[in-house]
C-alpha cells in the first residue's frame, strides 16, 4: 500500500525572472514500512522534494497524495493540522526545545494533537525505553550528547504515530558511533512499528542501511534502487 504517491511533480523558483527548476517532473510511490534514502549532490532538489512531501512547500505543478489525501486540496491551516497528525520530522540540528525536559519534548507533539495526559505518559515511557534514554527523562537537551539529542528527536517524531517520518540529514552532525546507534535505532523502529522512514542524506552510512535508494540529479530521479 502506498503511503506517498507523487505524480509529475515540478517546483520552479523565480518563475518570473530567472527560473530555477529545483524539481523537474518526479513520479514516485513510497510504500508503508519503507526505509528509503533520497540521495544526490547538493542542489539536486532533495530538500525541495522533502519540503513538498512534508507540506512545507507548494509544488508549481503535479500532485502529492499522502495516504490518499491530496496535499494541494488543503489550505494553510488544514495543511498544518494534516502535518501535525500525519507527518513526523527529524531535523539535522535536532531542534529540541531547550526549555523542556526529554520527557516534555517527546510528548510535545502528542500534546498539540490533544492526546490525554495518561496516553502521553504511556507512549513517552514506551519511546524512551525504546531509545534507551529512560534514565534521562527529566534532563534538559543541553545535558545530552548530540547522538542522544537526535534519538530524542526521533522519539518525538515517532511518539505521535505519524504515517511516515521525514528525516533531513539526520546524521550530519553526529560522530560515527552516534550515527551507527541512531541508524540501528531507526531501523529497529522501522521494523518493530512498521514505520516508514524517508531520509535525505549525503551520508554513506545512511545509504548502506537504506533498503531503497533514490538518486536525484537536476531535479529528476536518475536512479531508484531497491536493496534486498
Amino acid at each position: 500500500m502506498n503511503v506517498i504517491e507523487i505524480k509529475n511533480l515540478h517546483k520552479t523558483y523565480n518563475e518570473t525572472q530567472v527560473p530555477v527548476k529545483a524539481v523537474n517532473g518526479i513520479d514516485l510511490q513510497i510504500e508503508q514500512g519503507e526505509f528509503t534514502a533520497i540521495v544526490g549532490p547538493s542542489g539536486c532538489g532533495k530538500t525541495t522534494l522533502m519540503n513538498m512531501i512534508g507540506g512545507l512547500d507548494q509544488p508549481t505543478e503535479g500532485t502529492i497524495s499522502i495516504d490518499g489525501n491530496l496535499l494541494n486540496q488543503f489550505k494553510s491551516t488544514g495543511l498544518i493540522d494534516f502535518r501535525l497528525h500525519n507527518i513526523g520530522f527529524v531535523f539535522q540540528a535536532y531542534n529540541l526545545l531547550p526549555v523542556l525536559t526529554v520527557k516534555e519534548n517527546v510528548e510535545f507533539i502528542m500534546q498539540l494533537q490533544g492526546k490525554s495526559r495518561k496516553e502521553c505518559e504511556k507512549r513517552v515511557d514506551e519511546m524512551l525505553e525504546s531509545i534507551g534514554l529512560k534514565d534521562k527523562k527529566h534532563q534538559r537537551p543541553n545535558q545530552l550528547s548530540g547522538g542522544q539529542q537526535q534519538r530524542v528527536a526521533v522519539a518525538r517524531a515517532l511518539a505521535s504515530k505519524p504515517k511516515f517520518i521525514l528525516a533531513d540529514e539526520p546524521t550530519a552532525n553526529l560522530d560515527s558511533k552516534s550515527t551507527s546507534d541512531l541508524l540501528d535505532l531507526m531501523e529497529r523502529l522501522n521494523l518493530e512499528e512498521n514505520m516508514t522512514f524517508i531520509f535525505s542524506t549525503h551520508d554513506e552510512r545512511v545509504m548502506k542501511k537504506a533498503r531503497r535508494l533514490i538518486t536525484l540529479e537536476d531535479g529528476k530521479i536518475v536512479k531508484d534502487v531497491t536493496v534486498k
Binding site: I80, N95, V99, L100, L112, Q113
Partner: protein, 406 residues
Amino acid sequence: MLARLSWRNIWRNKTRSLVVIFAIAVGLTGGIFITGMMNGMTAQQANNMINREISDIQIHHPDFLENSNPKFLINDVTETLLKIKSEPLITEASYRSKSTAMASTATKGAGVTIFGIIPLMEKKVSSISNKIVQGDYFETETKSQAIVIGEKLAHKLNAEMGKKIVVTAQALNGEMSWSLFRVVGIFKTNDTRFDEMNVFVKKEDLDKSLGIGADQANEIAIRTLSQEDAAAVAESLQSKFSELSVQSWREIKPSLIVMMTMMDQFGYWLMIIILFALVFGIINTMLMVIMERKKELGMLMSVGMNKPRVFWMIMMETTMLSLVGAAIGLMISIGLMELFGFTGINFASWADGLEAMGYSSFVYPYVTSEFYVIVTILVIITAIIASIWPTRKALKLNPAEAVRAE
C-alpha cells in the same frame, strides 16, 4: 503546555528579561507613587476643608446661598438642632451666625468673614480649636468681647494677642454696626487664605451687634459618621426641612469633587503614558526573542503548531514577562503606600507655597484598590499590544526556511 513553555522561555535569557521586568517595575512604582501623592494631597485638602470649615452638611435659609446677608436666618434653631441630632448617621451639629465684615486695627483693615459660634458646640464640628498657636479658643473668661483670628490676618493687621480689633458689619436693620473685640487666640491652619479671611467670635456677641435673636442662626453645620454618608443624610434632611436648604459637602464645594476627579484621571493618564513608553522596550525585547528563536519557531510550525498557538505562545510570553514586572512594581508600590500612608511625607521646605494653595505640607499618599486593579489590566493590555508586532513577525516566517536558519 504552552503556558509552561512560555514561562520557561522568559528565563532563557535572564539578564534581558530582568532588564524589562525592572523597567516595568520601576515605571509602575513611579507612576503609582506620584498618583498616590496627588491623591493624598487632594484628599487632605478636602478633609481639611470639611473638618475645619464646611463640615459634612450645612443648612441655610435658601436665600442665604444667593446673598450671604445675615438677615436670611434659620428660626427656632435650637429645636431644629434637636431634630437633626436625633437622625441616624449624624454624630454632631452646631449653629452659627455669619456675616462678611471689615476687621480693623488702629493702622490696618481687612475684609473677613466673621463667625458667631458657640465654642463648646463648634469644637465638635470644626477643627479650628486644635489649630490655636497662641492664646486659647474662648476658654479664658474675659471682660471684653473675645475674637480668635488667623495668624496670617494677625500679621496683616499687626494684631498681636490682647490687641483690639474693630469689626464693622451690616446689621439686620441695614445700619452699619461696629463692635470692639480683643484678640484671645490666634490659629494657624495649613491654608493661609483661610487664616487671612476668617475670624471667630462668640455667637452672643455677634448676634448682639447684628441684631440676631438667640434662637436664630445663619448656618447649621453637621458632621456625619463618614463623608460618604453626607449625600444620603443631606437628602433625608432636605425632605424633613423643606423650607431650608440642605447641602452636603459635595454641593457646598463642588470644586473639591472636580479636583478629586481630575486627580483620578491624572493618575490613569500618567500610567498610560508610562506604559506607552514601556511598550517600545517590550517590543524590542520580543523582536530579539523572535530573531533568536527563528529556527525553533520554524521547527514548531513544521511539526504542526498552528498560527493561533504560535500567537498565544508569544503573547503569553510577553504578558507573563510584563506581569512579573507589574507584580514587583505593585508590591513595591503597595509597600510604599502603606509606609508613607502611615508616616506621611514632610515637604517642610515647600510648606509656604503648598499652604498658600490650601495643601498640607505633610502628605499621606494613597491609591484605591480599584486603581491597582485597573493598572494591572492596563499592563495586560500593554503586553497584548506589545506582542502584536513580534507575533506578526513570527507568523510570517516560512517554516522550511526558518528551520534551517543559523
